[in-house]
């Protein structure tokens, strides 16, 4: 089949208005299948499409085609969409092997949090530029001495008339070098319990006194960094919610993605597992394909079983979210299973590589231009970010099993 004989995909507006979920799925699938190769052109290769420039270009295209703000109300300019259809969207996005977005914090966390807690003025100011992807957000949570113990954060915001004066340092801030705005937690009081002295600020990253220093990651890339705040004057209008009410907002923000957060990741894991089988079938060792090695086959079978459990979890969490059941500690169990399974998958890929393991992640001669190598290293982050595995286990034991703190 050639491109000319292919049917043209419907417009995003028509797809969103599909009368059935099946029609919605078919529509969005066709749209990705048409637009991704069209935009990528001769960059339509997994490794090329993972480059930051293309990720941004693709995300801008998706948003400006009218596929942002999915599930947000029309009042803020969003596109109301059932959770089931949001899940379908994310599934097909991952199946199309479309690259991860850049503005994940903006669309996944900042938008819903603004809609829930923001003033009208704040919504009017920020939501349209989120929908069009004109402003990229980063998240200022961790500090050098406040990682897992987030409530100990020490970056101070002192009120002086119409502004808060910000002093301190954030670290491991994803996309800090690209961020136009930062969703930031800072200490506004040192009295009482630590959690009650924290506020949320929406900080323009171009304000005087802000300095960003990218940090090179183990992948060799520098997608995150340190941010220094030196007497930065943030207008009072950029405080989100009440003063000292930031902890509750941060906790709510963490919950916004719960229903659909894992769906794209789990679908992606499934497609990666399929690619892994193909890698093992096309890699030879001692004159025969690695896929014939019984140890490799057993490791694949184990991953297949775990991927099955993950899919069932995703379905259940989505169903619960649709029924309005508040997320429990199951989210922590899924995070553990997902991150640890994902690490095992890429460990196995490196085993399959054999001597080709030695290529660095940016070496174009490596299989798939180094993508396996890059993602192998990247999976080490997944048991750390968004609550380390140790914190997830504490949450399960203390909240789920009610063991003493």
């Amino acid at each position: 089949m050639n491109a000319l004989s292919a049917k043209t995909a419907s417009s995003p507006a028509a797809i969103l208005a599909a009368s059935t979920d099946e029609a919605f799925r078919a529509g969005i699938k066709a749209w990705f299948a048409q637009e991704l190769p069209r935009l990528a052109g001769d960059r339509y290769r997994a490794a090329e499409m993972q480059r930051l420039a293309f990720r941004r270009e693709w995300e801008d295209h998706v948003c400006r085609s009218g596929l942002s703000g999915l599930g947000w109300s029309e009042a803020v300019g969003g596109r109301p969409l059932s959770l089931t259809r949001q899940a379908i969207y994310h599934q097909e996005y991952a199946r199309a092997k479309a690259p991860l977005a850049v503005n994940l914090i903006g669309h996944g966390i900042v938008g819903p949090t603004l809609i829930a807690f923001g003033s009208q003025e704040q919504k009017d100011r920020f939501i349209p530029k989120l929908l069009s992807n004109e402003e990229i957000w980063c998240q200022g949570y961790s500090e050098p001495n406040s990682g897992s113990d987030l409530a100990s954060l020490a970056t101070r915001a002192e009120r002086r008339g119409d502004v808060y004066v910000l002093n301190g340092q954030k670290i491991w801030t994803s996309f800090s070098h690209l961020g136009d705005w930062c969703f930031l937690l800072a200490r506004t009081s040192s009295e009482g319990p630590r959690q009650r002295g924290i506020s949320v600020f929406l900080v323009d990253m171009r304000l005087p006194g802000i300095r960003v220093r990218p940090i090179r990651q183990i992948t060799g890339e520098a997608d995150y960094g340190e941010v220094f705040f030196d007497d930065v004057e943030v207008p009072v209008a950029c405080r989100l919610g009440e003063e000292n009410a930031g902890w509750g907002i941060a906790m709510a923000a963490a919950n916004f993605e719960r229903g659909t957060y894992f769906i794209p990741r789990i679908v992606r894991l499934q497609t990666e597992l399929e690619d892994l089988v193909r890698l093992a079938a096309t890699t030879e060792r001692d004159g025969r394909p690695v896929i014939h090695d019984p140890l490799v086959r057993d490791a694949i079978a184990r991953l297949f079983c775990d991927a099955h459990a993950l899919r069932l979890h995703a379905d259940r969490m989505l169903k619960q979210a649709e029924e309005g059941v508040p997320p429990g500690v199951e989210g922590s169990a899924v995070k553990l299973l997902w991150s640890e399974t994902h690490q095992r998958l890429f460990d196995l890929a490196m085993d399959i590589m054999g001597p080709a393991f030695q290529y660095g992640p940016q070496e174009k001669l490596a299989p798939a231009e180094g993508l396996w190598h890059r993602d192998y290293l990247w999976t080490r982050a997944e048991t750390i970010l968004a609550g380390t595995s140790e914190i997830q286990r504490n949450i399960i034991a203390e909240r789920g099993l009610e063991l003493p703190r």
């Binding site: 089949m1 399929e274 089988v277 193909r278 079938a281 896929i291 086959r297 057993d298 694949i300 079978a301 184990r302 297949f304 079983c305 099955h308 459990a309 069932l312 979890h313 259940r316 429990g328 500690v329 199951e330 922590s332 169990a333 553990l336 299973l337 140790e390 997830q392 286990r393 504490n394 399960i396 034991a397 203390e398 789920g400 099993l401 009610e402 063991l403 003493p404 703190r405």
Partner: protein
């Protein structure tokens, strides 16, 4: 405590009734005192199952049974795992109704007796030997005591044979079992003991055994759940270094892992119960449930410390029972291998097909 962990597969009332009834008859204390399951318990438990109508749960109403499905049976079986029921329940109540139609008139009679509770199947798990007089000797039979019939699965070239023997005229010798809740014996059968034999291809055998794999998974979840709850209760009470040990992170993390495994197993098993014809769902459920039960029952002993290693603390019964089910009907590893092989082959076959089609397309163009 463990969030929806006893949610019913079919009906919560049935589930709760099974839990209550079985808890009253639970053998833990007596077994821990050194009682022998092969005698009083097995008899009592089977009588109880018959009185409750559970033995005939999947027997058609036309044969005096309840004619219910796998989900209802699963509710009972999970509680049987949790409460250490001593008897060949799933095998008799589930596999026999599936096989009966293949056994003809013998099967019809067996179903009626099963519904009444008078049929109990022993299962031969090791290869038989024939002695000099041509009598069949079964070296290892589960639940032989009190069983009127013994079922033996023979894996052969191209398929499986299900062979049914009657025990009349047999001589049997009780052996020491690893799992005290599952008595074993060696049995030498009378010369005319074989009363039915059904040969099935692999696919048909796989289909007949699916409900057994699913219910084995269900029972493993019951065992894992009981061991897990026991461990959580213990670490909340036991004090060392002046603290409840449940406050220590090493303990918390072990239990968090148990919770995680148990939640995966529950989901996979519920899914398999709801889709009883799906090969992947059934086999993977059993793999995941066995992994969870093996880890959790071992951890339960570990978390009880020195007392966990004693016979009189009942933690070891769960480990031993989980270990037995992990190995039963060909074992969990073989199921994982089959599921994995299917996944790999389906993927590589589709790829080949796609390439072939692409090649064909090129030829047309040329």
């Amino acid at each position: 405590m463990t969030q929806g962990i006893s949610t019913a597969y079919s009906d919560q009332v049935l589930r709760d009734a099974a839990a209550r009834t079985l808890a009253e008859a639970a053998p833990n204390a007596a077994l821990a005192q050194g009682a022998d399951a092969s005698t009083a318990f097995a008899e009592n438990h089977w009588r109880l199952a018959a009185e409750m109508g559970w033995t005939g749960i999947m027997v058609p109403e036309s044969h005096g049974g309840l004619g219910l499905g796998l989900a209802e049976t699963a509710d009972i079986v999970e509680e049987m795992g949790a409460q250490l029921f001593c008897g060949p329940y799933a095998l008799s109540a589930v596999l026999l109704p599936g096989l009966a139609s293949h056994f003809g008139a013998v099967g019809d009679a067996l179903l009626r007796e099963l519904a009444e509770g008078s049929v109990r199947l022993g299962v031969a798990t090791a290869e038989p030997k024939s002695d000099a007089e041509g009598r069949v000797a079964l070296p290892l039979v589960e639940h032989a005591a009190g069983a009127g019939h013994i079922l033996h699965l023979v894996r052969e070239e191209g398929g499986v044979s299900f062979v049914l023997y009657r025990t009349a005229g047999a001589t049997s010798r009780a052996l020491q079992p690893m799992d005290p809740t599952c008595p074993i014996a060696s049995v030498t059968l009378a010369p005319d003991a074989e009363i039915a034999r059904v040969r099935c291809g692999h696919d048909e055998a796989e289909r007949l055994l699916l409900p057994i794999h699913i219910l084995t998974a269900v029972e493993l979840v019951g065992i894992a759940r009981a061991a897990f709850e026991r461990a959580v209760v213990h670490v909340r009470q036991r004090k060392q270094f002046g603290e409840v040990i449940g406050r220590f992170q090493a303990i918390k993390h072990r239990l968090a892992d148990g919770f995680t495994l148990l939640s995966h197993a529950r989901l996979a098993v519920s899914d398999a119960v709801q889709r009883p014809g799906d090969l992947d769902a059934a086999q993977i459920a059993r793999v995941i449930a066995a992994d969870a039960a093996m880890k959790i029952t071992a951890d339960c002993i570990q978390l009880h410390g020195g007392m966990g290693f004693s016979w009189e603390t009942d933690a070891h019964f769960y480990l031993k029972r989980a270990r037995r089910l992990h190995a039963s009907f060909g074992g969990t590893a073989a199921l994982r291998k089959r599921a994995g092989d299917r996944f790999i082959e389906s993927l590589l076959t589709t790829d080949c097909d796609r390439l072939r089609k692409a090649d064909a397309g090129r030829e047309e163009v040329v």
